[in-house]
């Protein structure tokens, strides 16, 4: 598998999904997974798969002794692996900038020279594909499609690509031609395409002109909440109800609809507070909008939340809201439901396809959003029902099942 992120060092939902899926698939006894990421940090959980870092893959032959390698990355990759990879360097890459081990440096993030990093990743993928034994190639998101294609052309093994998002979601239609080209190329060369929702599947079919027969939907799932998270105590200072938005404050997430809905709710009742946690390019505009509506005293912007803070915030909320304009899947409402917070999501979110015990509205329907918020904070039966049934429902959405679906697709592609 080619991926870009892997917990604990993640930047977005891609890492979480990669982790969950591989863990779910690893439950199948005959499944061995090798997962390639640009830059491992060494603290990744390798108990159920093998991680190879592109940054530790030599592309230029250097004579290095075992002890040096052991010191450099011995804790998470064996020197023998390095030697194996080194024996499969397939071209002269001395024109590239490499370090003393003959490896290319990666940031493992989304730097400005992202296209270059993607290309380098693909070069390393060539070495890895020649070294490792495997039956199928699985690429997560457009960053790793070129690597997947490369591996496929070298080995002739089938390529499955996993679409976690398309540029149409990220840009609201204002597509970057470079990204589109890479995405389209990946899809054209794939033997099968897995999408995280029917919404994404439709985008892939309609905007990337793919044959519907080779495009399947495998919805994401959630990891069960850990003990640590379960023990987090909610913080409640007031008797007031709290409605929370958590995510990047960008156009894609529809924050302005949340502010407008809050304004309507506050006209009728003042026992509610609203929280917009996160950061993003629309944050300042949202602060101004809240002030303009005269609700700044009830509308709070605590900024970007990470790790445990996210769960503290969720647990302290009475309502979770995700009014996304376009969301390929959207895992956060599932996480809110796991800790018993009733959720309101837009019908334009992929997760709306699999959730029943949430309130779904159109992202633009401010009245409906406001009505839903009011209903949950006013009618105890509604709160209680969504809290209990929502949790019960989401506890049944397991990566294990998603993994089984992926396996079926593998078997189909391999003609088994």
């Amino acid at each position: 598998m080619f991926g870009w992120e892997f917990p604990p060092h993640i930047l977005g939902g891609l890492g979480t999904a990669s982790f969950g899926l591989t863990r779910g698939m690893a439950l199948q006894p005959d499944m061995d997974i090798t997962f390639v990421i640009p830059k491992p940090h060494g603290d990744e959980d390798q108990s159920f798969l093998k991680i190879i870092g592109a940054c530790n893959t030599p592309v230029v032959w250097r004579d290095i002794d075992w002890d040096t390698l052991e010191k450099r990355f011995g804790s998470y990759m064996s020197p023998q692996q390095y030697y194996d990879l080194r024996s499969h360097i397939y071209a002269d890459f001395r024109y590239l900038y490499t370090n003393d081990l003959g490896c290319i440096e990666f940031s493992g993030r989304y730097p400005d020279n992202l296209l270059e990093e993607i290309n380098n990743y693909s070069i390393c993928a060539g070495v890895i594909a020649r070294t490792e034994e495997f039956d199928i190639i699985h690429s997560h998101d457009w960053l790793t499609y070129p690597a997947g294609i490369h591996a496929k052309s070298v080995t002739g093994k089938p390529l499955v690509i996993h679409v976690h998002a398309t540029d149409f979601d990220r840009s609201r239609g204002n597509v970057n031609p470079d990204v589109y080209r890479i995405e389209k190329d990946g899809m054209d060369n794939a033997d099968h395409i897995i999408c995280v929702s029917n919404l994404t599947r439709n985008t892939v079919i309609n905007n990337y002109h793919q044959d519907p027969a080779k495009v399947s939907t495998v919805h994401n799932a959630v990891e069960p909440v850990s003990r640590e998270i379960e023990e987090i105590e909610p913080i409640r200072h007031t008797q007031q109800k709290i409605v929370t938005f958590l995510g990047r404050i960008t156009m894609q997430k529809g924050p302005e609809y949340f502010v407008e809905a809050a304004y309507r709710v506050l006209q009728k009742t003042d026992k509610v507070r609203f929280v917009m946690a996160g950061s993003g390019d629309m944050m300042d505009a949202m602060i101004r909008l809240a002030a303009k509506r005269g609700i700044a005293d009830k509308f709070h912007f605590p900024g970007f939340q990470k790790g445990k803070q996210v769960y503290t915030m969720l647990k302290s909320s009475d309502v979770y809201i995700m009014p996304s304009v376009s969301e390929p899947f959207g895992i956060s409402p599932l996480e809110a439901m796991q800790v018993g917070v009733p959720s309101i999501i837009s019908k334009q979110s992929g997760c709306a396809e699999i959730l029943d015990n949430v309130i779904k509205t159109d992202y633009w329907d401010i009245d409906a959003i406001a009505d839903a918020i009011y209903s949950i904070v006013t009618y105890p039966a509604m709160y209680k029902y969504l809290r209990e049934q929502g949790k019960a429902e989401v506890d049944e959405i397991k990566w294990e099942y998603a993994g089984q679906k992926v396996r079926k697709i593998y078997d189909q592609v391999l003609g088994r």
Binding site: N357, I359, D371, Y374, S375, A381, M382, Y385
Partner: protein, 464 residues
């Protein structure tokens, strides 16, 4: 001799319009007139009118040997009067033939039988009166909303003077017994119970135009043959169904009207007669008692009340609604009473059922809402406004008994005033100089004005 007992259900709820929380306290009109009118007129044109016409024709053609029963909910009658008065007329024509029995039910098609006994009694009487006013006959047999029945409900019905009741032939209750007999209530032996023959009723109502059904197509002679071939001692086949089966649920082009047209001919040829529920109860003896400790209904597989009160949302809404029932009954405001009735209609709670997540079709077909949560929110918003109005009439700070005694005092005062006024008039007539006596009477009239301000306020607000 075998008997077919037909009973057709007619009901349409007053669907609520989209009512947001910011409308609470501002807007006191709750109904989606456009949808209600549209649906009622469509159903009337596709189903009620042609079916009525056909029945009338058949009754005449067979010299009154075809006999059927109808149960028309009060809310449906209100809508018919409003949107399709010609249907009322055609029912009146049917009623005149004497071959049609009209059944009693709750006026509001409500769940009051399991929620609030006083309200239940009141609604049954209200419905009886309504039917009598429109059709000139007082209903004698009873069928409850969605055929809900239990021994307890049977007791109430019996005490209201009914001797016949209709309910579902639920497997859970019947077990090995056949629904094709008349039973008697275990608690009131004089109350006869007719049970729906689920298989044969649903063959017509649900499977008639189903191509996948092994018996498709269902013809009248085949259907009558099935009935004729039931064991000899089985006396009656109760075919209970929604009247919309004819022309709406089973569209005209499925041949359902032709099926109905041919049915009496084949039945009479086989020596099967038609009787209405009351006639069946009169003619046939009960074969034994049947006990139903838990309420049953004709809905879904479970035949219980879970479609209306199966989840917390539904129970909350129902409890909230009936928490004000005593208050509302004290009110005299016509509009408030009307809203009270319309809000009790069982359909509102049906829309909140979360069973649709697993068993979607039926709920999605009937519900005007996207989801049960949507239905709940909308209903609760409306109910909040309604409860505010009740509260405005009689604040909850005054408890019911106190209020009741106050109202009685006012009522008595009114009576006193009336008699005093009468006296004054008499005195005036007898001698002009006694006019002064009128003054104290006027002063006493004040509480009357306090008691009835809402009536004047409500009337202009009622929309067409």
């Amino acid at each position: 001799m075998k008997t077919i007992c037909f009973y057709f259900q007619i009901h349409q709820p007053f669907r609520l319009k989209r009512y947001r929380f910011f409308d609470i306290g501002e807007d006191h009109y709750y109904y989606d007139d456009f949808t209600n009118e549209q649906i009622m007129q469509r159903v009337a044109a596709s189903s009620f009118l042609p079916a009525n016409e056909l029945l009338l024709e058949l009754i005449k053609a067979h010299g009154g040997k075809l006999r059927v029963a109808f149960s028309i909910s009060g809310v449906a009658l209100d809508q018919l009067e409003q949107y399709a008065p010609e249907v009322i007329e055609s029912f009146q024509a049917l009623a005149k033939t004497g071959c049609v029995e009209l059944l009693a039910e709750t006026y509001a098609h409500s769940l009051s039988s399991v929620m609030d006994e006083d309200e239940f009694r009141l609604q049954v009487k209200q419905q009886q009166k309504h039917i009598e006013r429109l059709f000139g006959v007082k209903p004698k047999a009873f069928r409850n909303t969605e055929l809900i029945y239990s021994d307890e409900i049977g007791d109430i019905i019996y005490s209201l003077g009914f001797k016949t009741v209709i309910t579902d032939g639920a497997k859970a209750v019947l077990g090995w017994k056949s629904p094709n007999f008349v039973y008697q209530s275990a608690t009131n032996p004089n109350l006869k119970i007719l049970l729906k023959n689920n298989k044969l009723s649903d063959d017509v109502a649900f499977r008639f135009s189903n191509y996948d059904w092994s018996e498709y197509p269902l013809t009248a002679d085949k259907f009558i043959d099935w009935i004729a071939r039931t064991p000899d001692n089985e006396q009656v086949v109760n075919l209970f169904m929604n009247y919309e089966t004819f022309g709406n649920l089973q569209p005209r082009e499925s041949g359902i009207f032709e099926f109905l047209r041919a049915l009496p001919t084949f039945a009479l040829k086989q020596g099967i007669e038609f009787l209405t529920p009351s006639e069946v109860a009169l003619k046939l003896k009960a074969v034994g008692p049947i006990s139903m400790p838990n309420p049953i209904s004709w809905a879904d597989e479970e035949n219980d009340l879970s479609s209306w009160m199966g989840n917390d949302l539904q129970r909350e809404a129902l409890n909230k609604l009936y928490s004000v029932s005593e208050r509302v009954r004290l009110c005299k405001d016509h509009r408030l009473r009307q809203d009270w009735n319309y809000l009790q209609t069982s359909d509102h709670f049906f829309y909140m059922s979360t069973k649709q997540f697993t068993d979607g079709g039926l709920y999605k077909y009937f519900s005007p809402y996207d989801s049960p949560f949507d239905a709940f929110t909308n209903y609760m918003n409306v109910l909040s406004d309604f409860m505010e109005r009740v509260e405005a009439q009689y604040p909850s700070t005054v408890d019911n008994e106190e209020l009741n005694s106050l109202l009685t005092t006012i009522e008595n005062q009114e009576k006193t005033i009336a008699s005093l006024e009468k006296e004054v008039r008499q005195l005036r007539r007898s001698g002009g100089k006694t006019a002064k006596a009128a003054k104290p009477a006027k002063a006493a009239a004040k509480p009357k004005a306090v008691a009835k301000p809402a009536k004047a306020a409500a009337k202009p607000a009622k929309k067409k």
